[in-house]
Amino acid sequence: MFRNQYDTDVVTWSPQGRIHQVEYAMEAVKQGSTAVALKSNTHVVLATLNRADSELTSSLQKIFKVDDHLGIAASGLISDGRSLCKFMRSECLNHRYVYESAMPVTRLVREVADNAQVCTQRSWKRPYGVGLLVAGHDKSGPRLFYCCPSGNYYEYLAHAIGGRSQAARTYLERKHEEYPDASLDGLIGHALQALDQDFKELDEASLQPYIQALRDAEGGDGGGGADGAAPMES
């Protein structure tokens, strides 16, 4: 990105009709590590690549449980992600307090997006530097949304964000017809495969059964593996 005179705050348009600060924020999402999400008719799965920055450090937590029916995966500025997660938890909790029911995913996503939009229209603010994959289920079934720093949100069947996510998206697009009827383990398999197609980085012992199952079904239709994950298990 080139520095220019139109990018010092978020309320100044460039002559090309762009808000550079917002675009920088969307770039920040790409600096993060990959986060993948996809859904079937019954489940939504979130997956992130948790790579440690050095030998001496742990990796960042990028998947957060918001409520019993809803979770998010973040890419970009994870501290912004935590702050948004706190907001979402408070919204869900308040919905439960007032209505004794789970907050519909669409309503929560809109609240988050409205929050992000305000940051694109106030001179003393900066946009969030985080992209959120919001996965949840409510009366309308499993839902998957992507909330972006611009204040836009999109609903997806499957999506990947963050650094080098293009490869993951290509994989997800290639296989998307299999998702609606996939089992939970099938979805997890697809998520892992999208995250890291040659499994160079996935060496976690708990993932090995899935990876083995995928290798066994090499070239086949993915899926099948270890025992099913509990709801909202990360």
Binding site: S83, K86, F87, S90, E91, L93, N94, H95, Y97, V98, Y99, E100, S101, P104, T106, R107, R110, E111, D114, V118, Q121, R122, W124, K125, D138, K139, S140
Partner: protein, 290 residues
């Protein structure tokens, strides 16, 4: 973000009119420092303990007044579930003290496609509650995502509103019945002016809880047909009319059914019979009365 109506003052909690925040901060319009990061105000309900005492006073020098007694009131509301639906019934009277002042007030109201509300007690407070429920329906409509509040959610909301207001020592002076369908099953709940809430297969408010519920306990079954349920509720209405002086012979019945959704009948009168000995000779069993 939608402008929040009076139902969701984040300063005073559910059911209290007031500004959205205890310290009114325009969301960005006013200047820097308005929206403190990390102190998100929830969009529904409110932090129940974050009550700013200064907001309890109304504008100007007039002291804020609390409701200490109701003025224009409705009497009992009855409700029963049956196979494939739920029905509410009440008369259409709004009394001014013991004067039968307004005789065509509809006290059964459709809230949305699956819920009806029946109310006794202060009629102006009922109108206030209906305004708040309208706000909620408007929000559902604006969201345009095909979702709307279920009867159980509305029941929970109303119990929070009533309890919150009684904690302000300024109750909404009503007894409410909420009837509807909850994922295809009949739901019937009651909320009173101090926030006590419970649900049952058959319910009644006011005098009805003494006059109608014994009848319901004897004759009600959850698997009744609609005809049986209608007969039972008409019988209960008749008994309430005989013994409750604050009632008139002009009734409405509201139904929520799996088949047809919400319907509220036109007002009708019941045939009555006053030749019972107890009515002819009211002092018969009251020794020492002339």
């Amino acid at each position: 973000m939608f402008a929040k109506g009076p139902s969701h003052s984040t300063a005073l909690g559910p059911g209290c009119a007031g500004p959205p925040l205890a310290n009114p901060q325009n969301f960005g319009q006013a200047g820097p420092g308005a929206h403190e990061h990390g102190s998100h105000q929830p969009s529904c309900g409110a932090a129940p303990f974050a009550v700013d005492a200064s907001m309890l006073r109304s504008a100007g020098s007039q002291p804020h007044k609390h409701t200490q007694s109701p003025y224009v009131t409705g009497s009992s509301v009855l409700g029963i579930t049956y196979a494939g639906g739920v029905m509410l019934a009440s008369d259409t009277l709004a009394s001014y003290g013991s004067t039968k002042r307004y005789k065509s007030v509809q006290r059964l109201v459709k809230v949305n496609e699956t819920t009806v509300l029946g109310a006794g007690g202060e009629i102006s407070d009922l109108q206030y509650i209906l305004n708040m429920l309208d706000d909620l329906s408007t929000e559902d409509y604006c969201a345009d995502d095909g979702q709307s509040l279920s009867s159980q959610e509305l029941y929970s909301y109303l119990s929070r509103v009533m309890y919150n207001r009684r904690n302000k020592m300024d109750p909404l002076w009503n007894s409410l019945l909420i009837a509807g369908l909850e994922s295809g099953k009949p739901f019937l709940g009651s909320v009173n002016m101090i926030g006590v809430a419970f649900s049952d297969d058959h319910l009644a408010t006011g005098f009805g809880s003494h006059l109608a519920r014994p009848l319901f306990r004897k004759k009600h079954r959850p698997d009744m047909s609609e005809e049986e349920a209608t007969a039972l509720i008409r019988e209960a209405l008749e008994v309430c009319y005989y013994r409750d002086k604050q009632s008139i012979n002009k009734f409405q019945i509201a139904k929520v059914t799996t088949a047809g959704g919400v319907s509220i009948s036109d007002a009708f009168a019941l045939p009555t019979k006053w030749e019972y000995q107890a009515f002819v000779d009211p002092t018969r069993d009251a020794v020492g009365v002339w």
